[in-house]
């Protein structure tokens, strides 16, 4: 049995490398991106959300329901971003 039989969709997909060009559209100032809160579903510019910098790291909260949208922290020399609270993230097409 070859690998194509084990993975019936093998011929239907590429790999993530092919996203490089499309994802370059996100290499912009992200504070003007619109994000949709996973908790309440409201949508706002990242720059209009509420940022708390007193916690270890930085916590961004939804301006409508105050749920956590994202956390950014420095962990042993890596910038770690968690985005559990964002359902959708949109930038203007370029």
């Amino acid at each position: 049995m070859d690998s194509a039989d084990q993975h019936p969709h093998d011929h239907d997909h590429l790999d993530g490398n092919a996203l490089a060009g499309a994802l370059e559209q996100f290499m912009v100032d992200l504070t003007s991106a619109r994000c949709t809160c996973a908790h309440c579903g409201s949508s706002s510019a990242l720059g209009a959300a509420l940022l708390y910098t007193h916690a270890p790291g930085m916590v961004l909260r939804c301006p409508t329901c105050t749920s956590v949208l994202l956390c950014l922290s420095d962990q042993e020399g890596r910038q770690v971003l968690t985005v559990d609270g964002i359902r959708q993230f949109a930038v203007t097409s370029r």
Partner: protein, 238 residues
Amino acid sequence: MRKSWQAAEVSAVRPETARSRTIRLRFPDAVTGIAGQHVDLRLTAGDGYQAVRSYSVAGWIPPDELEVTIEELKDGEVSPFLVNDLAPGDELEVRGPVGGWFTWTPDQEGPLQLIAGGSGVVPLMAMLRAHSGAGSAVPARLLYSVRGPEQVFYGSELAVIGQENPHVTVDFAYSREAPDGQPVGRLTREAVMRACFPPEDLPSVYVCGSTGFVEAVASWLVDAGHEAGRIRTERYGG
């Protein structure tokens, strides 16, 4: 967009008020940006401790300089040093200019409404300077809420713009102390409405100040019929 830290040299400083000053920074290369953007400044202590603060750009001096205006915060960790100790020739680590949300460009449609609380005037001054610099005929209004005449930033420049530029109106609202003949008191909803373009003019509105100021003013504007999507806000720390 510059993404990494670089050293900029303090090329000039000048006082704005008793507790604030404008610092001109010279970059190693040409620096451009959009009115409303900020820079992050990073200070490193002898023991390696680092502190980063964001400061709005007040204006650009092509090709390689920009200015920030910094107010000394009581118990501040960074601002007292920047306002009192930093001197021409010193170097600072700078990231930016950055930011794309709280920004204005002269090709933007519609009247420009700026509402400042205290040192929140800094990024709005950058917008007014961009407006004047571009020779824009877009009607612009600045409402500047400030404790008293002694706390006004860019006073003489604002007076000149307000008098000589037919497209710009500058209004002050004094909360604690006012020049003779002018009212004193907390900024009110009515005063904001009097000084602002009405909602039907579809102005782009920029509000910058303390959190309380920004939230109060933005909610009055929405109550008055301004579309929330046309109101951009920036809160400063402290």
